[in-house]
Each structure stands twice: as structure tokens, then as C-alpha cells.
Symmetry: C2
Subunit: 206 residues, 2 copies
DNA sequence: CCTCCATATGACCACCCGGTCACATTCCGG
DNA sequence: CCGGAATGTGACCGGGTGGTCATATGGAGG
């Protein structure tokens, strides 16, 4: 969505602008982010920004796209294990790697969190699109789990999806909580997933 | 936190201001809510608002307090069943009644949703305080469930709390999704809770 | 009736926002 | 070296914000 001019820019300058924009959208959700702050920190004129993008929304959509591309790339190794691991193992791997992403690229992580909490209409449709992208692989995983019998066949598929989605969101929200102990956090993710796996009602067989 | 002047106001006028503020904070999260819009819709002068409250934040805190008081009152009947119902029955009752609250007072519901999604610092401490308030009764419920053995003793208590909290948030977020069928929604809440109760791994005993 | 104090008012302030545009600068092919 | 196209610039615009304050209004007690 950026104009051609943006891609004609020398790489350094383009990266600087991109990075400053990521930083701003990490600090504030779309509505609260300030274009003026971005251009000022990037050391360019306001008018220049409008040579590169048609407006604030355009810039935001570009940044969102870049950030998700990066995350998708980072998560690729998880899906390559798809055939070797069962649903529960894969889910654990998925969340642990998402956590690594959040630690390695905290700004990008913050951008995604701000993004899916945004209630802006201009952003919502794009959001739905992205959510589909995000969930496709996970949904496949779930289907396979149900088919193979690793997941109880009596479970309501919609409800399972809902629960996992909710817990995923909460887990990821908390990925960067200050005061979290890196060593224990992986174990914590697994504890949470175990609750989902076994359920709260005691099991007779163990 | 409002000034004494506010409580000297005739009841009608006080209610009008309160209602318009609730409406605005239902439409927009704190940062995006407009004081000018509130006073304009309430038909009072901007200066008058500053006779009643010390500022926007003060007004917001008052509204939040009122809204949560209303919700707490509405949920009271649930906790009176505490001794008659087990953990799972109580949880079901709790969410179904929360949903009734959302249907009956959609604006107040929206205010709560905006509130706990807010990332404003001025609001965060207050929020933590409120969350404690909200969770106290639920945490008690959970403790009792663990003690009585209705909940598996092998479950990690923190993880259980985390999962329930996450699902609660997601359920409540979706309470007012347009296009939701009121009759089926209660059943859906129960489906979701059943997933938590039984877990995803198949059970041998059934 | 007059005084005094609480209350009501809206013009006004400084500041911010996203966006525009006439003009300056840079670059490159002829 | 020139001329035209591409790019860079920041003052400026209209409109919004939360907050202030001198002034006007009202009502209760002496």
C-alpha cells in the first residue's frame, strides 16, 4: 500500500522510518499513535511521509503487514513439526515459540497486541482477514486432533476453538509481563496447557 | 471523588450527567472519550463539570466505581447459592447471570469492557484494585472446589485461575456480539465451561 | 432589600492532531 | 550545462482536546 516513492528510498532511510513507526505503534494503539511523533523521531518532514504513504491508516496497514510477516516467518519451524507431534505437543511448542518471539522482538509483539485490541473500524476488516490467517494453521491442527482421537470426540468443536483462542490471547498478552521469570515461564505455559488437556474434573483413571 | 457540589445537585440533573458520561465511556475507552461531548449532550457548560469533578480522570473513576457497584449488586444472587452448588454449577450460573447483566445494561457492560482493555497508566492501579475485588469471590469458589475434591487436586491452582480468567474475559467480550442468538447463547456458555471441566483429552471412564 | 456565598457559564487558552501545498532541492538524461 | 521530473520541506489549515477564569446568576439569612 505504500507509494512507489517509499520503495525507491535508500534502504537505511526506509528502515529508519519503519522502525520508528513500529516503535510508535508499539507504544500506542492506532488511534493514539502520533504521526507527528514518528516523523519527528525519524528526522523527516511531515510532508515527506505523505510522499510515501497516502495517510496514517496506510502506514499502519503496512506496518501491521510487516510485523505479521515477521511473526509468521518466525513460527514456521513449528508447523514443520506438524506430522511428528500430536496436538498437545504442537500447541505447547507453538506457545513457547510465540513467547520467544515476544522476547526477541518486544516492539513487534506490542504492535500485535495493540492491533487485536483495537476497536477502530477502519482496522477491523483488515483484522478479520489477519485473524483468519493466524487461525488457519491452528484450526487445521485442531481438526486433525479431533479426527485422530487425541482430542475427545464428544467435545464441542466451536467451544474448543473458543477456549483455545481465549487462552492463547491471554497467554500472549502476558508474555511480556515484567517480573516474569524466563525459566519458569515455559513451565507455566505448559501448566496452563495441561489444565486444558486434562480438564478440572478429577479423572478416575489416574 | 466528585466534589461536594455534585452531590448537592438535584437528583435528575446528577443522573443525566452520570448517564451521559456512561454513554460516552461505553462508546470510547478513557483516552478517546470526550469531555466536551459529555457536557454538550448533558446540556451543561464545560465549566460546570469542573465544579463537580476535578477533571476527566476524576469523572472516569467515579463512573467506573458506579458501574462496578451496579454489576456487583446484580451478581449478588449468584454468591448466595455458594453453599448449595458445586464449583461447576456456580461458574455456569455466574457467567449466565453476567450475560443477563450485559443484555440488561449494555452501556454499563461496554464501560467495563473498555475499562479492562484500557492501557492508560492513570487507570491501571485502579484497575488492579478492581480486579482484586472482582476475583475475590471467584478465587474463594476455586479454593473450595479444590478442597472438596470437585476439582482435580493435581491441577496447578495458578494455571486454573489463569485459564478461567482468560475464558471469562473472552466470554464477556463476546456477550454483546450482534447476531448472537439469546436462546443458544446460554447453551454455548455451558459448552465452553464443559470443555474446561472435562478437558480435551478423552476420558476412559466415559 | 441587601449581602454573601455557592453555583453556572462559555469565551478563551495552549496544545495537539492529521493533512495540504507552494516552494526548494536534488537528481539524471540529453 | 540545461531542463524537467522526482523528491523533500515546514509553515499552515481546520478542527479537536482538557482545562481555566472572570463574570453572571440565584437563593438563603440578617
Amino acid at each position: 500500500m505504500p507509494k512507489a516513492t517509499f520503495f525507491n528510498l535508500p534502504g537505511k532511510k526506509r528502515d529508519l522510518i519503519t522502525n520508528q513507526a513500529v516503535q510508535e505503534f508499539a507504544r500506542h494503539p492506532y488511534e493514539g499513535a502520533s504521526l507527528s511523533a514518528i516523523v519527528s523521531r525519524a528526522g523527516i518532514a511531515k510532508g515527506s511521509m505523505y510522499q510515501y504513504f497516502t495517510g496514517k491508516k496506510d502506514l499502519y496497514q503496512y506496518i501491521i503487514q510487516e510485523v505479521y510477516e515477521k511473526k509468521r516467518e518466525f513460527l514456521k519451524p513449528v508447523w514443520e513439526e506438524k506430522d511428528r507431534l500430536n496436538f498437545f505437543e504442537l500447541a505447547s511448542l507453538y506457545y513457547r515459540r510465540s513467547w520467544h518471539f515476544a522476547r526477541k522482538y518486544p516492539l513487534h509483539h506490542r504492535v500485535t497486541v495493540n492491533f487485536w485490541e483495537s476497536r477502530d473500524i477502519a482496522v477491523r476488516d483488515e483484522m478479520l482477514h489477519k485473524k483468519e490467517v493466524r487461525s488457519t494453521e491452528f484450526l487445521e491442527m485442531l481438526e486433525a486432533g479431533l479426527l485422530s482421537g487425541v482430542i475427545s470426540r464428544s467435545a464441542d468443536k466451536d467451544a474448543v476453538w473458543f477456549v483455545y483462542h481465549a487462552v492463547a490471547k491471554a497467554l500472549i498478552d502476558n508474555f511480556l509481563d515484567p517480573g516474569v521469570n524466563p525459566e519458569s515461564h515455559e513451565a507455566y505455559i505448559n501448566s496452563v496447557l495441561t489444565v486444558l488437556e486434562l480438564g478440572l474434573r478429577p479423572r478416575k483413571e489416574q
